[in-house]
Protein backbone atom coordinates (compact mmCIF):
# COMPACT_ATOMS: atom_id res chain seq x y z
CA UNK A 1 0.00 0.00 0.00
CA UNK A 2 1.21 3.52 -0.71
CA UNK A 3 1.62 6.20 1.93
CA UNK A 4 3.13 9.68 2.00
CA UNK A 5 6.47 10.66 3.46
CA UNK A 6 8.03 14.10 3.88
CA UNK A 7 10.93 13.92 1.42
CA UNK A 8 12.22 17.51 1.46
CA UNK A 9 11.44 20.97 2.81
CA UNK A 10 12.60 24.44 1.80
CA UNK A 11 11.34 27.85 2.80
CA UNK A 12 11.53 31.46 1.67
CA UNK A 13 11.57 34.65 3.74
CA UNK A 14 10.99 37.97 1.97
CA UNK A 15 14.06 40.23 2.16
CA UNK A 16 12.58 43.18 4.11
CA UNK A 17 13.19 42.73 7.83
CA UNK A 18 11.31 44.28 10.74
CA UNK A 19 13.61 44.06 13.74
CA UNK A 20 12.73 44.30 17.39
CA UNK A 21 14.99 47.34 17.60
CA UNK A 22 12.90 49.05 14.94
CA UNK A 23 9.68 48.18 16.78
CA UNK A 24 11.08 49.52 20.04
CA UNK A 25 11.79 52.83 18.28
CA UNK A 26 8.24 52.92 16.90
CA UNK A 27 6.70 51.99 20.23
CA UNK A 28 8.96 53.55 22.88
CA UNK A 29 6.78 52.25 25.71
CA UNK A 30 8.10 48.78 24.87
CA UNK A 31 11.85 48.19 25.15
CA UNK A 32 13.81 45.75 23.01
CA UNK A 33 14.31 43.59 26.08
CA UNK A 34 10.59 43.54 26.83
CA UNK A 35 9.57 42.59 23.29
CA UNK A 36 12.29 39.94 23.08
CA UNK A 37 11.38 38.49 26.48
CA UNK A 38 7.66 38.36 25.78
CA UNK A 39 7.83 37.05 22.22
CA UNK A 40 11.24 35.43 21.68
CA UNK A 41 11.32 37.13 18.28
CA UNK A 42 14.21 39.29 17.08
CA UNK A 43 13.30 39.68 13.40
CA UNK A 44 10.21 39.35 11.25
CA UNK A 45 10.35 39.27 7.45
CA UNK A 46 7.77 41.40 5.70
CA UNK A 47 6.49 41.00 2.14
CA UNK A 48 6.99 44.05 -0.06
CA UNK A 49 4.03 46.04 -1.41
CA UNK A 50 4.11 44.06 -4.67
CA UNK A 51 4.86 40.69 -3.04
CA UNK A 52 1.91 38.35 -2.60
CA UNK A 53 1.55 34.91 -1.07
CA UNK A 54 1.99 33.25 -4.47
CA UNK A 55 5.34 35.02 -4.94
CA UNK A 56 6.59 33.68 -1.62
CA UNK A 57 5.26 30.20 -2.41
CA UNK A 58 6.85 30.17 -5.87
CA UNK A 59 10.18 31.26 -4.37
CA UNK A 60 10.05 28.46 -1.78
CA UNK A 61 9.14 25.89 -4.43
CA UNK A 62 11.97 27.05 -6.69
CA UNK A 63 14.39 26.58 -3.80
CA UNK A 64 13.04 23.07 -3.39
CA UNK A 65 13.53 22.28 -7.08
CA UNK A 66 16.97 23.93 -7.13
CA UNK A 67 18.06 21.73 -4.21
CA UNK A 68 17.75 18.76 -6.54
CA UNK A 69 15.20 17.01 -4.32
CA UNK A 70 12.56 16.97 -7.01
CA UNK A 71 11.55 18.68 -10.22
CA UNK A 72 8.44 20.64 -11.18
CA UNK A 73 7.71 17.92 -13.74
CA UNK A 74 7.43 15.33 -10.95
CA UNK A 75 4.61 17.14 -9.14
CA UNK A 76 1.10 15.80 -9.69
CA UNK A 77 -0.75 17.74 -7.00
CA UNK A 78 -0.34 21.24 -5.56
CA UNK A 79 -1.83 22.11 -2.17
CA UNK A 80 -1.59 25.75 -1.09
CA UNK A 81 -2.48 26.74 2.46
CA UNK A 82 -3.05 30.48 2.70
CA UNK A 83 -5.40 33.02 4.23
CA UNK A 84 -4.02 35.82 2.06
CA UNK A 85 -4.62 34.57 -1.50
CA UNK A 86 -3.62 36.70 -4.45
CA UNK A 87 -7.28 36.94 -5.55
CA UNK A 88 -10.68 35.78 -4.33
CA UNK A 89 -10.61 33.90 -7.62
CA UNK A 90 -8.97 32.29 -9.47
CA UNK A 91 -7.40 29.76 -7.08
CA UNK A 92 -3.88 30.88 -6.24
CA UNK A 93 -2.58 27.30 -6.51
CA UNK A 94 -3.65 27.30 -10.17
CA UNK A 95 -1.57 30.42 -10.80
CA UNK A 96 1.37 28.79 -9.00
CA UNK A 97 1.06 25.67 -11.21
CA UNK A 98 1.47 27.89 -14.24
CA UNK A 99 4.38 29.90 -12.85
CA UNK A 100 6.32 26.82 -11.76
CA UNK A 101 5.74 24.91 -15.00
CA UNK A 102 4.08 22.01 -13.19
CA UNK A 103 2.32 19.68 -15.67
CA UNK A 104 -1.25 20.67 -16.54
CA UNK A 105 -2.27 17.13 -15.60
CA UNK A 106 -1.67 18.04 -11.93
CA UNK A 107 -4.42 18.87 -9.47
CA UNK A 108 -4.22 22.12 -7.53
CA UNK A 109 -6.24 23.70 -4.77
CA UNK A 110 -6.08 26.32 -2.06
CA UNK A 111 -7.19 25.62 1.45
CA UNK A 112 -7.86 28.40 3.93
CA UNK A 113 -6.29 27.63 7.30
CA UNK A 114 -3.74 29.37 9.47
CA UNK A 115 -1.66 27.97 12.25
CA UNK A 116 -3.05 24.42 11.96
CA UNK A 117 -2.61 24.40 8.16
CA UNK A 118 0.59 22.37 7.86
CA UNK A 119 -0.89 19.44 9.79
CA UNK A 120 -4.07 19.57 7.72
CA UNK A 121 -1.95 19.79 4.57
CA UNK A 122 -0.06 16.65 5.54
CA UNK A 123 -3.41 14.94 6.16
CA UNK A 124 -4.68 15.94 2.73
CA UNK A 125 -1.42 14.83 1.09
CA UNK A 126 -1.52 11.45 2.84
CA UNK A 127 -5.12 11.00 1.76
CA UNK A 128 -4.34 11.82 -1.86
CA UNK A 129 -1.40 9.41 -1.93
CA UNK A 130 -3.04 6.56 -0.01
CA UNK A 131 -6.03 6.62 -2.36
CA UNK A 132 -3.85 6.60 -5.44
CA UNK A 133 -4.82 10.11 -6.53
CA UNK A 134 -1.27 11.48 -6.37
CA UNK A 135 2.33 10.35 -6.06
CA UNK A 136 4.18 13.62 -5.53
CA UNK A 137 2.39 16.34 -3.60
CA UNK A 138 3.81 19.85 -3.40
CA UNK A 139 2.46 21.16 -0.08
CA UNK A 140 2.89 24.94 0.04
CA UNK A 141 2.18 27.18 3.01
CA UNK A 142 2.34 30.91 2.30
CA UNK A 143 1.14 33.91 4.26
CA UNK A 144 1.32 37.69 4.12
CA UNK A 145 -0.51 38.57 7.35
CA UNK A 146 1.57 41.78 7.42
CA UNK A 147 -0.78 43.23 4.81
CA UNK A 148 -3.69 42.89 7.28
CA UNK A 149 -1.94 44.60 10.21
CA UNK A 150 -2.43 48.24 11.18
CA UNK A 151 1.00 49.91 11.49
CA UNK A 152 0.13 51.14 14.98
CA UNK A 153 -1.08 47.83 16.39
CA UNK A 154 1.93 46.68 18.37
CA UNK A 155 0.05 43.68 19.77
CA UNK A 156 0.32 41.95 16.40
CA UNK A 157 3.18 43.68 14.60
CA UNK A 158 5.60 42.27 17.19
CA UNK A 159 4.36 38.71 16.52
CA UNK A 160 3.65 38.02 12.86
CA UNK A 161 6.11 37.60 10.01
CA UNK A 162 5.60 36.65 6.35
CA UNK A 163 7.04 33.50 4.81
CA UNK A 164 6.37 30.50 2.64
CA UNK A 165 7.44 26.87 2.86
CA UNK A 166 7.47 24.15 0.21
CA UNK A 167 7.24 20.55 1.36
CA UNK A 168 7.54 17.59 -1.01
CA UNK A 169 5.38 14.72 0.17
CA UNK A 170 6.09 11.68 -1.98
CA UNK A 171 4.58 8.23 -2.17
CA UNK A 172 6.38 5.22 -0.74
CA UNK A 173 5.36 1.57 -0.59
CA UNK A 174 4.88 0.03 2.81
CA UNK A 175 2.36 -1.33 5.28
CA UNK A 176 2.78 1.47 7.79
CA UNK A 177 2.21 5.18 7.21
CA UNK A 178 5.17 7.48 7.75
CA UNK A 179 2.77 10.33 8.57
CA UNK A 180 -0.09 9.79 10.99
CA UNK A 181 -2.32 9.15 12.75
CA UNK A 182 -4.07 12.49 12.75
CA UNK A 183 -6.13 14.28 15.38
CA UNK A 184 -8.19 17.28 14.29
CA UNK A 185 -10.33 19.79 16.12
CA UNK A 186 -12.50 22.78 15.34
CA UNK A 187 -14.31 25.31 17.49
CA UNK A 188 -15.80 28.08 15.39
CA UNK A 189 -17.07 29.94 18.44
CA UNK A 190 -13.51 31.25 18.68
CA UNK A 191 -13.69 32.80 15.22
CA UNK A 192 -14.11 36.40 16.40
CA UNK A 193 -10.93 36.22 18.49
CA UNK A 194 -8.57 36.16 15.51
CA UNK A 195 -10.19 37.76 12.51
CA UNK A 196 -10.03 40.32 9.74
CA UNK A 197 -13.64 41.54 10.16
CA UNK A 198 -14.19 43.27 6.83
CA UNK A 199 -13.16 42.90 3.22
CA UNK A 200 -14.85 39.66 2.23
CA UNK A 201 -18.47 38.69 1.55
CA UNK A 202 -19.91 38.96 5.10
CA UNK A 203 -18.85 42.59 5.62
CA UNK A 204 -17.42 44.30 2.53
CA UNK A 205 -15.02 47.18 2.93
CA UNK A 206 -16.46 50.65 3.27
CA UNK A 207 -15.31 54.11 4.20
CA UNK A 208 -16.36 53.35 7.77
CA UNK A 209 -14.47 50.04 7.94
CA UNK A 210 -11.22 51.82 7.16
CA UNK A 211 -11.44 54.23 10.09
CA UNK A 212 -8.93 53.28 12.75
CA UNK A 213 -9.58 53.58 16.48
CA UNK A 214 -7.52 52.99 19.58
CA UNK A 215 -8.58 50.00 21.66
CA UNK A 216 -7.87 51.39 25.10
CA UNK A 217 -4.56 49.53 25.37
CA UNK A 218 -2.65 51.73 23.00
CA UNK A 219 -3.23 49.57 19.93
CA UNK A 220 -4.82 51.12 16.85
CA UNK A 221 -6.74 49.23 14.21
CA UNK A 222 -9.68 49.46 11.82
CA UNK A 223 -12.20 46.76 10.90
CA UNK A 224 -10.14 46.19 7.77
CA UNK A 225 -7.20 45.14 9.95
CA UNK A 226 -6.43 41.87 11.71
CA UNK A 227 -7.68 41.69 15.30
CA UNK A 228 -6.32 39.16 17.77
CA UNK A 229 -7.48 38.73 21.37
CA UNK A 230 -4.27 37.30 22.77
CA UNK A 231 -5.78 36.31 26.09
CA UNK A 232 -8.62 34.36 24.44
CA UNK A 233 -6.20 32.64 22.07
CA UNK A 234 -3.93 31.71 24.97
CA UNK A 235 -6.87 30.33 26.90
CA UNK A 236 -7.91 28.24 23.91
CA UNK A 237 -4.43 26.75 23.52
CA UNK A 238 -4.29 25.80 27.20
CA UNK A 239 -7.46 23.79 26.66
CA UNK A 240 -6.96 22.35 23.17
CA UNK A 241 -3.27 21.57 22.89
CA UNK A 242 -2.76 19.23 25.89
CA UNK A 243 -5.93 17.35 24.91
CA UNK A 244 -4.75 17.02 21.31
CA UNK A 245 -1.38 15.68 22.44
CA UNK A 246 -3.06 13.11 24.69
CA UNK A 247 -5.58 12.12 22.01
CA UNK A 248 -2.84 11.61 19.44
CA UNK A 249 -0.77 9.42 21.75
CA UNK A 250 -3.83 7.28 22.53
CA UNK A 251 -4.67 6.97 18.83
CA UNK A 252 -1.09 5.98 18.04
CA UNK A 253 -0.83 3.59 20.98
CA UNK A 254 2.25 5.44 22.18
CA UNK A 255 3.43 7.19 25.33
CA UNK A 256 5.24 10.50 25.74
CA UNK A 257 8.73 8.94 26.01
CA UNK A 258 8.20 7.35 22.56
CA UNK A 259 8.27 10.79 20.94
CA UNK A 260 11.74 12.03 20.02
CA UNK A 261 10.91 15.63 19.17
CA UNK A 262 7.93 17.94 19.59
CA UNK A 263 7.39 20.65 16.99
CA UNK A 264 4.45 22.86 17.89
CA UNK A 265 3.15 25.81 15.90
CA UNK A 266 5.61 28.58 16.77
CA UNK A 267 3.07 31.10 18.05
CA UNK A 268 5.26 32.98 20.52
CA UNK A 269 7.95 31.85 22.89
CA UNK A 270 6.04 32.68 26.08
CA UNK A 271 3.05 30.57 25.05
CA UNK A 272 5.29 27.71 23.89
CA UNK A 273 7.26 27.62 27.12
CA UNK A 274 4.08 27.59 29.20
CA UNK A 275 2.65 24.76 27.10
CA UNK A 276 5.90 22.81 27.39
CA UNK A 277 5.81 23.05 31.18
CA UNK A 278 2.10 22.31 31.32
CA UNK A 279 2.45 19.13 29.25
CA UNK A 280 5.75 18.29 31.01
CA UNK A 281 7.84 18.02 27.85
CA UNK A 282 11.62 17.86 28.26
CA UNK A 283 13.42 20.98 27.04
CA UNK A 284 15.80 18.98 24.86
CA UNK A 285 12.89 17.43 22.92
CA UNK A 286 10.92 20.66 22.47
CA UNK A 287 11.78 22.62 19.35
CA UNK A 288 11.67 26.42 19.49
CA UNK A 289 12.73 28.06 16.25
CA UNK A 290 11.17 31.44 15.66
CA UNK A 291 13.63 34.13 16.68
CA UNK A 292 14.56 35.11 13.12
CA UNK A 293 11.18 34.94 11.43
CA UNK A 294 8.42 35.29 14.03
CA UNK A 295 5.00 33.68 13.78
CA UNK A 296 4.71 32.82 10.09
CA UNK A 297 1.31 31.14 10.59
CA UNK A 298 1.11 27.88 8.59
CA UNK A 299 4.82 27.98 7.74
CA UNK A 300 6.13 27.86 11.32
CA UNK A 301 6.25 24.09 11.54
CA UNK A 302 7.90 23.34 8.17
CA UNK A 303 10.41 26.14 8.87
CA UNK A 304 11.17 24.63 12.30
CA UNK A 305 11.52 21.15 10.75
CA UNK A 306 13.92 22.51 8.14
CA UNK A 307 15.92 24.22 10.89
CA UNK A 308 16.37 21.02 12.89
CA UNK A 309 17.24 19.11 9.70
CA UNK A 310 19.99 21.63 9.01
CA UNK A 311 21.17 21.37 12.64
CA UNK A 312 21.39 17.56 12.26
CA UNK A 313 18.94 17.15 15.14
CA UNK A 314 16.49 15.17 13.02
CA UNK A 315 17.66 11.66 12.22
CA UNK A 316 16.11 8.89 10.19
CA UNK A 317 13.86 6.74 12.36
CA UNK A 318 12.94 9.52 14.80
CA UNK A 319 9.29 10.12 15.69
CA UNK A 320 8.26 13.77 15.63
CA UNK A 321 4.97 15.13 16.96
CA UNK A 322 3.55 18.13 15.08
CA UNK A 323 0.80 20.19 16.73
CA UNK A 324 -0.79 23.17 15.00
CA UNK A 325 -3.39 25.38 16.67
CA UNK A 326 -4.90 28.80 16.22
CA UNK A 327 -7.17 30.85 14.00
CA UNK A 328 -10.62 29.35 13.51
CA UNK A 329 -10.30 28.00 16.11
CA UNK A 330 -8.67 25.05 14.36
CA UNK A 331 -6.16 22.52 15.59
CA UNK A 332 -4.47 19.39 14.39
CA UNK A 333 -1.76 17.02 15.49
CA UNK A 334 0.11 14.21 13.79
CA UNK A 335 3.20 12.05 14.06
CA UNK A 336 5.94 11.92 11.46
CA UNK A 337 8.35 9.01 11.38
CA UNK A 338 11.33 10.67 9.77
CA UNK A 339 12.69 8.86 6.77
CA UNK A 340 14.53 11.49 4.74
Amino acid sequence: MKHGTIAAIEYYLPPDVLSTEHLAREFPEWSVEKIDKKTGIQNRHIAGPEECASDLAVAAARKLFASGACDAQDIDFVLLCTQSPDYFLPTTACLIQDRLGIPTSAGALDFNLGCSGFVYGLGLAEGLIATGQAENVLLLTAETYSKFLHPRDKSVRTIFGDAAAATWVRAIEGPTPSIGPFVYGTNGSGGPNLIVPTGAARKPRSEQSGIAEEDGRGNVRASDNLFMDGAEIFNFTLEAVPQAVDALLVKAGLAMPDIDLFVFHQANQYMLEHLRKRIKLPVEKFVVSMAQCGNTVSSTMPIALKAIIDENRLESGMTVMLVGFGVGYSWGATLVRWMA
Partner: protein
Protein backbone atom coordinates in the same frame (compact mmCIF):
# COMPACT_ATOMS: atom_id res chain seq x y z
CA UNK B 1 0.01 29.19 45.80
CA UNK B 2 0.19 31.51 48.81
CA UNK B 3 -0.91 35.13 48.75
CA UNK B 4 2.70 36.23 49.13
CA UNK B 5 3.81 34.05 46.21
CA UNK B 6 1.00 35.47 44.10
CA UNK B 7 1.80 39.11 44.90
CA UNK B 8 5.49 38.45 44.25
CA UNK B 9 4.67 36.86 40.89
CA UNK B 10 2.43 39.81 40.02
CA UNK B 11 5.22 42.25 40.95
CA UNK B 12 7.44 40.45 38.41
CA UNK B 13 4.71 40.21 35.82
CA UNK B 14 3.96 43.94 36.10
CA UNK B 15 7.66 44.82 36.21
CA UNK B 16 7.42 46.38 39.66
CA UNK B 17 10.05 46.23 42.42
CA UNK B 18 9.62 43.20 44.67
CA UNK B 19 7.21 43.89 47.51
CA UNK B 20 5.34 46.70 45.75
CA UNK B 21 1.85 45.25 45.44
CA UNK B 22 -0.44 44.95 48.45
CA UNK B 23 -3.54 43.81 46.59
CA UNK B 24 -5.59 46.96 46.93
CA UNK B 25 -4.23 48.50 43.73
CA UNK B 26 -6.82 49.25 41.00
CA UNK B 27 -5.75 47.52 37.78
CA UNK B 28 -6.47 50.63 35.75
CA UNK B 29 -3.77 52.44 37.75
CA UNK B 30 -1.10 49.88 36.86
CA UNK B 31 0.77 51.03 33.76
CA UNK B 32 1.93 47.54 32.76
CA UNK B 33 -1.45 45.84 33.11
CA UNK B 34 -1.52 45.20 29.35
CA UNK B 35 -2.99 42.45 27.19
CA UNK B 36 0.36 40.66 27.51
CA UNK B 37 0.20 40.93 31.30
CA UNK B 38 -3.29 39.46 31.18
CA UNK B 39 -1.94 36.46 29.27
CA UNK B 40 0.79 36.01 31.86
CA UNK B 41 -1.76 36.23 34.66
CA UNK B 42 -3.88 33.54 32.98
CA UNK B 43 -0.71 31.41 32.79
CA UNK B 44 -0.04 32.08 36.48
CA UNK B 45 -3.57 30.96 37.39
CA UNK B 46 -3.08 27.89 35.18
CA UNK B 47 -0.01 26.90 37.21
CA UNK B 48 -2.35 27.09 40.22
CA UNK B 49 -4.67 24.68 38.34
CA UNK B 50 -7.28 27.39 37.88
CA UNK B 51 -8.86 27.79 34.46
CA UNK B 52 -10.05 31.31 33.71
CA UNK B 53 -11.74 33.05 30.86
CA UNK B 54 -10.43 36.44 29.73
CA UNK B 55 -13.93 37.81 30.35
CA UNK B 56 -13.61 36.91 34.03
CA UNK B 57 -10.22 38.62 34.13
CA UNK B 58 -11.57 41.76 32.48
CA UNK B 59 -14.27 41.95 35.19
CA UNK B 60 -11.57 42.27 37.86
CA UNK B 61 -10.92 45.75 39.18
CA UNK B 62 -8.09 45.25 41.69
CA UNK B 63 -5.12 42.97 42.26
CA UNK B 64 -7.09 41.37 45.10
CA UNK B 65 -9.84 40.52 42.58
CA UNK B 66 -7.19 38.72 40.51
CA UNK B 67 -6.00 36.84 43.59
CA UNK B 68 -9.53 35.67 44.40
CA UNK B 69 -10.12 34.61 40.81
CA UNK B 70 -6.90 32.58 40.82
CA UNK B 71 -8.00 30.92 44.09
CA UNK B 72 -4.95 32.15 45.91
CA UNK B 73 -4.92 31.11 49.59
Amino acid sequence: MTRQEFLSAMDTLLELPAGTLTGAEPLDDLENWTSLAMVEYIALADTNSVKLSPRQVRDCETVDDLARLAKVQ
